[in-house]
Subunit: 341 residues, 2 copies
């Protein structure tokens, strides 16, 4: 698809900094790219934000949505009852192919439920999965699933590995991403029932499966694709975020606690900036929900304008590289193979 | 029980630093405490280590064991076939009440399987659980289960919370420890099937249940007792260990990367020492396997002499405070209540 034909909708009402940072991010993006963006949400609020900026008006459309799905809403219920919400309207636009991708920083559960119900899965995909770029000592890995399937089955995990590998190959450029299965030991028979069965499926697949991945080695970048169910994935993701934040908070506090250490901090400021950079992976955008017929991206709840820009760039890349189609082909092949067995 | 009557056996062959550090730790302990310790393992190796130290010989016994269970051994198989191993012999000594507690830094899976098979559970306890002290910004919490039950049921998790609360109250002195259930959100209905059902049981219990605990808040010390199945617990534990180690490794590397930052590090050395102290929780000893008729403690695989000393002190406290008996009473009461319902 030609970049000038791509249209992306953004949920203007989702996330902690909506609509201010969402609108700002969209304006900054269209001022750099020839891609049309549709802002979905309370039109009066969106326009009052847009008034502050200089931008080419034919590059931004506004679609009014009178309701908002908040983080306190029960996911499936919200999707079913709040038909006029920015999220539901955006997802229907995607379903009807009026847009090529939809971004929301809102309620994760609702976005996952709504995407599956409204947008629909690629044929052969058992469950879509939320994939998230994850910083490591080696660069970057992909953690999948971080939010869609808390009660998973082995075949789901195999498909997460397949979809994750395709995504990672296209986005990061690694030809044969190493797939690791999150487990509590490296031996084949370690773990709970889910991972023991998943291990067998992954071992028999054509993926570059490198075996079980112990939690202590995740940050070392031992695998490109870190496969797990959404319960475990969410815990790894949130635990990392919390721990890293708290450790740096602790360091800051300690360095401020005496004159000696304050002087030390001044000298070492460059070193700390370098470390902080490692943990900044916002350039990769949000978490794509892989396995859907069209692209939905979950942006972080605390997204700022720069994160929305990154998510928009991510969508352009995804659509240009036709990643959904590549996943569809893989699933089709897998089905043929199963038949042929 | 009078402290001078307590007898503790230590697996001299378990862990990365066996038998050197194990024997050293035992000698240092008996030189400070009037508690008899039995070293179980290859007698010639143990005696050759003991020769190096000055100690009161009637405070250490050696029990010969010709076999060793290594980390590569399959847990249940090793327990069944290596009858002459230090671990199996030690567990039988505990079963036969020749000792009051058994410590091993060896194969975790084998120790858990062997303890359940040989030592036996307290009546009413569905599954013993491995409990581990976990450093937080607030001080210390207890993470349970970290290694025994990778496929858990809601009733197990409730019992983990009960046993953990009793242990924590006795060891740390917190009267009503706050119990948090590890989950992917704070709302009641969040999570997978296991935690949703466990939530209900914990809510209806007489525990000081404070609700779901998000992974990002674990290190903040939001709960004293952090309840989860062993798969999740092991991932939290190992992920923390790995991440903390790697972040400090990164800081060290960066601080050594230029003259400026090296100078900074010199000034700030006190601050870094303070931070490091927070993550040092070896004083609490190893991880007790709660729910057994007698005490088994899993020491960290990389245990040094000081860790073995701490584990020995922990055993003395556990036996003196009669924690196993308190757990047994709680289970008995729970059963009576169930009958009365």
């Amino acid at each position: 698809m030609n970049i000038s034909e791509i249209k992306i909708a953004v949920d203007a009402m989702g996330g902690d900094n909506a609509p201010t940072e969402i609108v700002k991010g969209v304006v900054e993006f269209i001022n750099k790219n020839k891609v049309k963006v549709i802002l979905v949400g309370k039109a009066d609020l969106i326009y009052s934000q847009l008034l502050q900026y200089k931008y080419s008006q034919d590059m931004i459309d506004v679609v009014d949505a009178s309701e908002i799905i908040s983080n306190d809403d029960s996911p499936t219920e919200a999707i079913k009852t709040k038909k006029q919400s920015s999220m539901v309207i955006g997802l229907y636009m995607l379903k009807e192919k009026k847009i090529d991708a939809f971004i929301s920083a809102g309620n994760t559960g609702a976005l996952v439920a709504g995407s599956t119900l409204i947008v629909g899965r690629i044929k052969g995909v058992k469950r879509p999965a939320l994939a998230c770029m994850f910083p490591t000592l080696n660069g970057i890995s992909l953690l999948i699933d971080v939010g869609a399937n808390v009660d998973a089955k082995p075949i789901y995990l195999k498909q997460f590995a397949q979809m994750g590998s395709i995504y990672f190959r296209n986005v990061v450029g690694v030809k044969e991403p190493r797939v690791g299965l999150v487990n509590i030991g490296t031996e084949d028979k370690k773990g709970n029932e889910l991972v023991r069965e998943s291990f067998k499926l992954l071992k028999d697949s054509d993926l570059n499966f490198t075996g079980n991945l112990e939690a202590r080695n995740i940050f070392r970048g031992e695998a490109d694709i870190i496969v797990c169910d959404a319960f475990v994935g969410n815990i790894i993701l949130k635990h990392s975020e919390g721990l890293v934040k708290d450790i740096f908070g602790l360091i800051k506090k300690e360095l401020n606690s005496s004159i000696m250490s304050k002087i030390g901090a001044l000298f070492a400021i460059g070193a700390f900036k370098n470390i902080k950079k490692i943990f900044d992976y916002s350039e990769y955008g949000g978490a794509p929900l892989l396995g859907l017929e069209n692209l939905v991206v979950k942006a972080h709840g605390s997204s700022k304008a720069s994160d929305i820009q990154a998510a928009l760039n991510q969508c352009v890349k995804f659509v240009e590289q036709d990643i959904a189609n590549e996943i569809a082909k893989k699933m089709e092949n897998d089905k043929e193979e199963e038949k042929g067995e």
